[in-house]
């Protein structure tokens, strides 16, 4: 009975989605807000990557709320998993190749992650993508040596400071009499590393926050006791 109702639900959902697809014309969509943003973003925000201009400039407040969702997920994950008991068993160290690879990859991933964060306003990438790479830089060594633990106090300190600085930059704009999270500082030359005002600073905060949150969450997942 449950199977039948599930199958009926799937059929209905399929028809619904198919009906949505019927109305969509592939590759020939009328320009909406995007074209208007593309026309003015270079002058208004000064970021060569317009996706960054949208994420941090036009809808920076939404990005702050999305960071809050991620923060809630990470906090809830930590709450659910809890602390492992002292002397709890863990998986043995992995083989030589993964251990050596983890040591080799750590500096490489750090550099790539920071590069992607710092160039988020110029090239594809940014705080979210770079933050995930930073998180993997700190997580791969844990996969290679499951016994090592991460300093969760330090991780949550970085996370909190990054989140606070994001909000602080937003509040600084209000001191100036502008709206919350309005891009500040000089826009600079389009395409230069030091351009787009306060957007790179915001992306550094986002990158550190995403990186520390994901690294902490993954480390907690791997630190939990092995199920017998």
């Amino acid at each position: 009975m449950r199977r039948l109702s599930s199958a009926l639900f799937l059929l209905g959902l399929g028809l619904l989605v198919a009906a949505i697809f019927q109305t969509m014309k592939f590759g020939n969509v009328a320009p909406i807000a995007g074209q208007a943003i593309n026309a003015v973003a270079a002058q208004q925000v000064g970021a060569a990557n317009f996706v960054t201009a949208v994420v941090l400039g036009y809808r920076g407040f939404d990005t702050l709320l999305e960071l809050t969702i991620l923060f809630t997920a990470a906090t809830a994950g930590g709450l659910v998993l809890g602390k492992p008991r002292a002397g709890a068993s863990h998986d043995p160290d992995s083989g030589f190749i993964l251990r050596a690879g983890a040591d080799l990859f750590f500096p490489l991933l750090l550099v790539v992650g920071l590069y992607i964060i710092l160039h988020g306003h110029l090239t594809p990438g940014g705080g979210f993508q770079g933050g995930v790479i930073l998180a993997s830089a700190f997580f791969i060594p844990i996969l290679a040596r499951p016994g090592t633990t991460m300093d969760h106090r330090l991780v949550s300190m970085i996370e909190g400071l990054a989140g606070a600085s994001f909000i602080l930059i937003g509040l600084l704009a209000m001191l100036d009499g502008k709206e919350f999270l309005t891009p500040l500082l000089d826009k600079g030359e389009l395409g230069a590393l030091l351009s787009a005002g306060s957007l790179p600073l915001l992306y550094i905060a986002v990158g550190l926050k995403v990186g520390s949150e994901l690294a902490g969450l993954l480390a907690r997942l791997s630190e939990t006791e092995a199920i017998d």
């Binding site: 199977r3 599930s6 199958a7 639900f9 799937l10 959902l13 399929g14 989605v17 198919a18 949505i20 697809f21 969509m24 592939f26 590759g27 020939n28 969509v29 320009p31 909406i32 807000a33 995007g34 074209q35 943003i37 593309n38 973003a41 270079a42 060569a48 990557n49 317009f50 996706v51 201009a53 949208v54 994420v55 809808r59 939404d62 990005t63 999305e66 969702i69 991620l70 997920a73 990470a74 809830a76 994950g77 659910v80 998993l81 090239t123 594809p124 940014g126 979210f128 993508q129 995930v132 389009l190 395409g191 995403v210 949150e213 994901l214 969450l217 907690r220 997942l221 939990t224 199920i227």
Partner: protein, 145 residues
């Protein structure tokens, strides 16, 4: 076959397979994978909805501004949606881990039964059931006799 049809079929398939995984499977980890697939399908659909033929990425390289560029708004939405998806996935998996540790199984039918039994035991009441259920009818007839 044209590209549009392939891409739409991919988005449609991902959404449908993900939903099927959520409603049909009884294993918690499979349900979580279903959520991940559904999420990927939704992201693809969001990008396809505003795709314009022959429009490059909305990034200015070397000062040249193309005549038409892709819509940056859905790209920004999907960008954050992917990261949040990873967070949700990690949270769901950690919850599944707790369930496995508490009940020793990831089958939702078994977990639901054990959960209800636990609640009933804790509250000191009987398992809720319909008055027409076979057991209840027997006890009622006994009461009348």
């Amino acid at each position: 076959m044209d590209t549009g049809l392939i891409l739409y079929t991919a988005a449609f398939g991902l959404i449908l397979i993900g939903s099927a995984g959520i409603v049909l499977s009884t294993h918690l980890v499979r349900i979580i994978f279903g959520i991940a697939l559904l999420e990927a399908g939704a992201n693809l659909l969001l990008l396809l909805a505003t795709f314009r033929e022959g429009s490059p990425a909305p990034i200015i390289v070397g000062g040249r501004v193309p005549a038409t560029m892709a819509d940056p708004v859905p790209q920004a939405l999907v960008l954050t949606a992917i990261v949040i998806g990873v967070g949700i996935l990690a949270l769901a998996l950690s919850l599944a881990l707790r369930v496995q540790r508490a009940y020793g199984t990831l089958d939702i039918r078994e977990v639901r039964q054990r959960l209800e039994q636990d609640i009933v035991d804790e509250a000191g009441i009987e398992l809720p059931s319909s008055s027409d259920a076979p057991q209840a009818m027997v006890s009622r007839q006994e009461g009348q006799a």
